[in-house]
Symmetry: C2
Subunit: 190 residues, 2 copies
Amino acid sequence: MNIFILLFNDFRKLDVFGEIPEFTLHYCSLTGGIIHSSHQVPVMTTMLPSVLPDSSVLFIPGGMGTRLLVNDKVFIRLLTQTIPQASYCLTVCTGSALIAKTGLLDGKKATSNKKAWSWVTSINSEVDWQHCARWCVEDGLYTSSGVSAGIDMALGFVADLYGKERAILIANLMEYVWNDDYDHDPFCKS
Amino acid sequence: MNIFILLFNDFRKLDVFGEIPEFTLHYCSLTGGIIHSSHQVPVMTTMLPSVLPDSSVLFIPGGMGTRLLVNDKVFIRLLTQTIPQASYCLTVCTGSALIAKTGLLDGKKATSNKKAWSWVTSINSEVDWQHCARWCVEDGLYTSSGVSAGIDMALGFVADLYGKERAILIANLMEYVWNDDYDHDPFCKS
């Protein structure tokens, strides 16, 4: 399965997809070229295809870069056109703000990082924001809270696609203690 | 302080240096160009300078790529010439095999990943290999066991350079439980 990872400067890395042999990763950006993560890693990207192949997954990271991008009309328009082409769209942390901005989450359950909660939810009040959730899924749109919740979500995505046994196997290979219950959010005070 | 991170294909990423504001990171390789991590991340590199600036740090990651590189005479010769130019040289995991191959660790304490122990130590029996150690330091050469031990070592390096308070501050910002005792190795059965 092809995963298109849409990068932007000052994105926060989430490397879990590289652990999953079923996925072929494509590191993309709006224009191609070198994109720097919030950890200063210069990642080489190709331009995001204007038309995604069938059965594609789009992954959008979070990070401080989202604060500027949410007001970047070219980027948000591209996202609005691209997300409906993907079979699934996944994001973590403040990446939810970018999808929320497109309007494609309106009326749908979604979550985000609690440390950026008031900012993210202020982007679009039409989203059915879930404060207590490790991750949310609705109509193929996956959103998660912090970076580590993103690992839980990615494994949940593997479970949805290939079955829970497969996800458990990958978690064990990573020596990762998978929180497999999207409703169990240890960082939620409710 | 300049940190030159010498990458090679199929290296295992260790992103902790990006968390440390005192460090300016330079992603390098033997020839420059795009290098792929074991997680398929395409990282853009520049050619490693033939002469390192004063007060430089050289960091060498581990990863499956070391298995081939240990027999790459051009790479090992470059390493042999470059390490003595650096004020400090740090490595994690199987990166120890590369430094061991240069002979610069002969008679010095060093460690490596326990899962690759027999291979790494077979590269050079003149090294004073320490099976039970989170990390080792001798003559400015830092070696550590697994990837997570590399985080402990990097924070230990910060403590050596800037004091323990500074290292604790960075660990707290990362929400990382720092094992600050290089002799305390929870994965050692002795």
